[in-house]
Each structure stands twice: as structure tokens, then as C-alpha cells.
């Protein structure tokens, strides 16, 4: 009888994603999720078990080997299938990342099961998890019912908290082996992107620019504030389409949907396309010359003025504050 929740812990180059720990900690807080175990797949998965152990899962499954050194859809799907068949959970959780978008629907299809992606909330009652996720980039939300024996859920990064680590806690570790197969596709190279130091979806602070930045030569004004705050740079569709910045920076309906703690929109008027992608941010600051810009209706704090005059002063204030800490 299927029971409990298995959390897929994502690692790249031996680094565990913070969003995976958020997912693990959130699963443990859901009464309806039952006992929570974890699975790590990687070239050196066993070494990583100690880090995951601190968040006290019931058990940690590891699948280790050279075939997992780079992400491979087929090898990871087979490995995760092995873990699921062993643990027999009622739910499988993962953080909603590029890897999960590729992997989790595929494994869910193998189990002919429901897959609910990008969940931001659980309204659990009467034995149902009732996951809630944004649709239309957050213009509305949907609450889902899972009709299959096992349900797969991916959770938006940055929405749920990581609990304090329980140093010294030791969860039992079980090593599993998936049947060896030759994948038909494999990763042959990885190129680190230049520019973005912090991934938009994982950043707790985002400073975004729109047409008001006037030209691609002015990103440094925003980048300096980003660096001072430890945030990530974002952009509106208008400036991406104008070729002022790469698409990976785009926030909005055809870019990334984000929910940081703090979103600072600079020179962004607030097209519905853009608002959809960021309106679930906890705190929104809008800086714009036009006092009638629609973005002000969504902002917790609005500043009407010239961003080129205001932003350097804000950056200076942040630096002063950080030095004082």
C-alpha cells in the first residue's frame, strides 16, 4: 500500500539545490503527506546524504554512478523509477526547476499518474493535499485533485522555508541500483552563462529593468543595486524583444514567473504580461517617471522620479546599511 512522500533532491556538480531542501521541509509539514523520505541521484550521491540527513527525512535513498555525472533524462528517469518502486510512496515531490520540468512529467507518465507543477500552496483538508498553483502566470490560481494512486508534485522555489538544520541527525541511507541501459541522448557539454550570477527563480531579491533604462548600456545602474542587495537582475519583455538583454532575464508570461521576497521594478510601466510574472512577489517596489504607470497599482512602495537619479542613491543607502550591520 502506497504511503508517505518521496522527495527528489536535486544536485548539480555535487551541490544540493536549496529549493530541494525547501521542498523536503515543506513535505514534512504536511500532515497528509505521511512519512517523508528523500532520494539523491548523482555521481557522488552518498557523500551528499549527510547534508540531507540534517533535515531529518525518515530515510535517504541514493543512486550513485558515473552515468549520473551529468543530468540525463533517461538515466535519471530510470533511477527515480527504481527509488519509487522501492519506497512505494503516495506522493513524489521535487522543486520546480529546469531539471524537474524535464524529468518529473516523464516519470509521472511512466506511472500513468497526475503531475501538478509549480505548486505554491497546499490547502490540505479531509485527507486531500489540495495543491494550489498559479495559472495564466498568476492571473488566476487552480486547486487540484489527484485521481491516481501516486501523485507527482513540483514546488516553486523560494516560496517555502528551509528549517533549521538538526546537526548530527542521521537518517538511514539505502543504496539502490537501477538497471543499466544506454541512453539515446546525453549531455556532451555544459556552458556556464555569463552575466547572471543568481538564477531568477531562486533569487529572494530581483531588480528588474524595462524601457525606462533607455538602452543596453545602462544595465550597470541596476546591476550595482543587484550586487549591493545580493539580488538577481530581471527584465521586461519589451527590452528582451529590443535585444537589450538575453531572454533568460525575462520576467513575465513568456519569460519566468517569479515570487521573490522583494521585487524592484525600474522603468517598467507594468504591461499585464509582466505583472502576471511578478505579482506574487511579497514586496513590490516601483520606480517610474510616469506617476500613472499601471505598475504603481501593484506596488507596496511607489517612487515617482528619474531612476538614473534615484537608483545610485538607493544603492549607496544599501551599502551604508550593510556596512552598519
Amino acid at each position: 500500500m502506497a504511503n508517505g512522500t518521496l522527495v527528489f533532491i536535486e544536485q548539480r556538480d555535487g551541490h544540493i539545490k536549496k529549493a530541494s531542501l525547501e521542498t523536503l521541509c515543506q513535505a514534512k509539514k504536511l500532515n497528509n503527506a505521511g512519512p517523508v523520505s528523500a532520494v539523491i541521484i548523482g555521481e557522488k550521491a552518498k557523500e551528499l546524504a549527510a547534508q540531507v540527513s540534517k533535515y531529518a527525512p525518515e530515510k535517504i535513498y541514493v543512486l550513485e554512478g558515473g552515468e549520473y555525472s551529468n543530468y540525463s533524462t533517461e538515466a535519471y528517469t530510470d533511477a527515480l523509477e527504481k527509488a519509487i518502486r522501492t519506497a512505494d510512496p503516495k506522493f513524489v515531490f521535487a522543486a520546480h526547476t529546469a531539471m524537474a520540468k524535464d524529468l518529473i512529467p516523464r516519470i509521472a507518465a511512466r506511472f500513468d499518474a497526475a503531475c501538478i507543477s509549480d505548486v505554491m500552496e497546499f490547502q490540505a483538508e479531509n485527507g486531500c493535499l489540495n495543491p494550489v498553483r498559479p495559472m495564466y502566470s498568476g492571473k488566476c490560481y487552480g486547486m487540484y485533485d489527484i485521481k491516481s494512486a501516486i501523485g507527482f508534485i513540483t514546488i516553486r522555489p523560494n516560496v517555502f522555508a528551509v528549517d533549521a538544520a538538526q546537526e548530527g541527525h542521521q537518517a538511514p541511507v539505502e543504496e539502490l541500483k537501477a538497471e543499466a541501459k544506454t541512453p539515446r541522448a546525453k549531455v556532451t557539454e555544459i556552458h556556464k552563462s555569463e552575466g547572471q550570477k543568481l538564477e531568477l527563480g531562486e533569487a529572494s531579491i530581483i531588480v528588474s529593468g524595462g524601457r525606462g533604462i533607455k538602452g543596453p548600456e545602462n544595465w550597470n545602474v541596476l546591476q550595482e543595486l543587484c550586487d549591493a542587495m545580493g539580488g538577481a537582475l530581471g527584465a521586461s519583455r519589451a527590452v528582451v524583444d529590443a535585444g537589450w538583454i538575453d531572454h533568460q532575464f525575462q520576467v513575465g508570461q513568456t519569460g519566468k514567473t517569479v515570487s521573490p521576497q522583494l521585487y524592484i521594478a525600474c522603468g517598467i510601466s507594468g504591461a499585464i504580461q509582466h505583472l502576471a510574472g511578478m505579482s506574487s512577489s511579497k514586496i513590490i517596489v516601483a520606480i517610474n517617471k510616469d506617476k500613472d504607470a499601471p505598475i504603481f497599482k501593484y506596488a507596496n512602495y511607489g517612487v515617482v522620479g528619474d531612476m538614473f537619479e534615484i537608483l545610485p542613491k538607493v544603492t549607496a543607502e544599501v551599502k551604508k546599511m550593510k556596512e552598519g550591520q
Binding site: N70, T73, E74, T77, K101, D102, I104, P105, R106, A109, A114, C115, S117, M135, G138, K139, C140, Y141, G142, M143, Y144, D145, I146, K147, G151, K186, V187, T188, I190, S193, K197, L198, G201, D246, H247, Q248, Q253, T254, G255, L262, A271, I272, Q273, S279, I283, I284, V285, K297, Y298, A299, Y301, G302, V303, G305, E309, I310, K313, V314, E317, M321
Partner: protein, 260 residues
């Protein structure tokens, strides 16, 4: 090479979305349907590949009357043929159900390359390409921003967090297109005229041998209810000269909002 492109008719991204009275769906009154923006990159890639290497291109869509204009738009851009699966059982589809139907059509067609948008705008599930690859027992590359096809092999560059990954493998394959893959062309007047004369192949679930095995009661993920997002509280406007505004803003973010 035979190329299939899966496209979805979705509400225009500029549309104001409201939840319908019974909370089962959005209010479709006055909504204009368009080709899902990410599917435009898949369509363009198929046409560009055909222009370079020859082959046949087919566009496939599931749904009701809203699909017709979307399929005609693909034909007008230069896709050769269109298949429309239209059946009363196919409403409020979950991605798994949609993939089961598409997989059947694709198996019957014997395609070497299956192109999809990385996400259907609106549902925002980003699941269909991976599910389709599993059901078709094909390799996959999702979130692709660059694609090369030669000698029965593919090389795809995919966007991941802070990096691009190069995936190589053999055809047949399912590829999901991310923005940046190409610059979609607009249909030409000549293309629009030609598309009007083409016949869209309309099939129902009986014709596909799927009646009863997919649809309403077999769905694994069902929307219980849809809701509007919580209203955001009235914000504060920060007045004064630039110095005062900067100081006040940082102070409020620190002490009132507690996000710094």
C-alpha cells in the same frame, strides 16, 4: 524527414483573465485565442528545417473550434498539413490526457521529429513534451534554444539555471522550444490565401480508437476550483527629493517590510 509540431490554442497573453462563475475554468467570454507563443518557435523551426533539408511538416492541435484559426495560422506560415482532434470528451484536459491523444496521432504518422512549445501559455504546466517523449518511447530535449539535425542525429542546446547544456542523441526525438530558438516569421498574404484552400484533417476519438480510454473520467489531475489571486493592499507613495526618497525607501524596506 517527417516533422510533427504540436500546437495549442490559448487565450491571448494580453487578455484579462477572470474565473468563471462555477470556478471550473476561466471566463471565456470575449477571449481571443492565439497560437501559444512558445509553439510559434516550434512552428518556425519545423519550417526552417524543411526549407534546408526537405521533408514534410504536420501541425497537430487538440480542442474545439478555437483550434481552427490556430491551425490555419500554422499552414499560412508554411506548414504542409494540419490535423485537428476535436471530440466532446476532450475538455479541461490534463497534460497526460492531451499527450495520450497526441502520442496516438504521432505514432500513426511515423514522425522523425516532434516539436512542441516548452509550455502552453495559460495552463503553464510545462509537462507535455516530457510526457509525450515517455509515451512515444523517444529521447527528449526540453527548453531548447538551438537545434541542429543531421544524419539521423540531433544536437540541442537547452537553457538550464545559469548555464546552457548541449544534448546529443539519435532521432526520433521530442524537442520543446524555448524563446530564443529562432525568430518566428509572420504569415505572408500568399501563405494566408494558400492556407484557406487547404483541408484540415479533423478526427475524433473514435477515429483514433481512443473513445472511452481517454477523457473526462480517466483524467489523473483535475482542477477542483479556480480562484483569483488575493488583492494586493494599497501601496504607499514615497515623496520628496531623490535623496529623501532613497533614504525613506530603504528604511521602509528594512523596518516595515522587513525584506532587507
Amino acid at each position: 524527414m517527417k516533422i510533427a509540431v504540436c500546437v495549442k490554442a490559448v487565450p491571448d497573453t494580453e487578455a484579462n483573465i477572470k474565473v468563471a462563475g462555477d470556478q471550473s475554468n476561466i471566463d471565456l467570454n470575449g477571449i481571443k485565442f492565439v497560437t501559444s507563443p512558445f509553439d510559434e518557435f516550434a512552428i518556425e523551426e519545423a519550417i526552417a528545417l524543411k526549407e534546408k533539408q526537405g521533408g514534410e511538416t504536420t501541425v497537430i492541435s487538440l480542442g474545439g473550434a478555437e483550434c481552427t484559426d490556430v491551425l490555419r495560422d500554422s499552414l499560412a506560415r508554411g506548414i504542409d498539413t494540419a490535423i485537428h482532434v476535436n471530440d466532446p470528451d476532450l475538455v479541461n484536459l490534463d497534460p497526460l490526457t492531451a499527450a495520450k491523444v497526441l502520442a496516438k496521432v504521432i505514432k500513426e504518422g511515423g514522425f522523425d521529429l516532434v516539436l512542441c512549445g516548452q509550455q502552453g501559455v495559460g495552463g503553464d504546466n510545462s509537462q507535455l513534451p516530457s510526457i509525450l517523449a515517455e509515451l512515444l518511447d523517444m529521447p527528449q530535449a526540453t527548453l531548447v534554444v538551438k537545434l541542429e539535425i543531421a544524419d539521423g542525429k540531433f544536437k540541442a542546446e537547452r537553457e538550464i539555471e545559469g548555464a546552457h547544456e548541449i544534448v546529443e542523441g539519435s532521432l526520433p526525438v521530442v524537442i520543446s522550444a524555448q524563446k530564443g530558438l529562432n525568430e518566428p516569421r509572420y504569415p505572408s498574404i500568399k501563405g494566408v490565401m494558400a492556407a484557406r484552400k487547404k483541408t484540415i484533417d479533423v478526427k475524433n476519438l473514435d477515429a483514433l480508437g481512443l473513445k472511452g480510454s481517454v477523457g473526462q473520467d480517466t483524467r489523473r489531475a483535475v482542477i477542483k476550483k479556480m480562484m483569483m489571486p488575493p488583492e494586493r493592499a494599497q501601496g504607499k507613495m514615497i515623496e520628496g527629493d531623490a535623496d529623501t526618497q532613497a533614504k525613506t525607501l530603504i528604511s521602509l524596506l528594512k523596518t516595515e517590510a522587513r525584506v532587507l
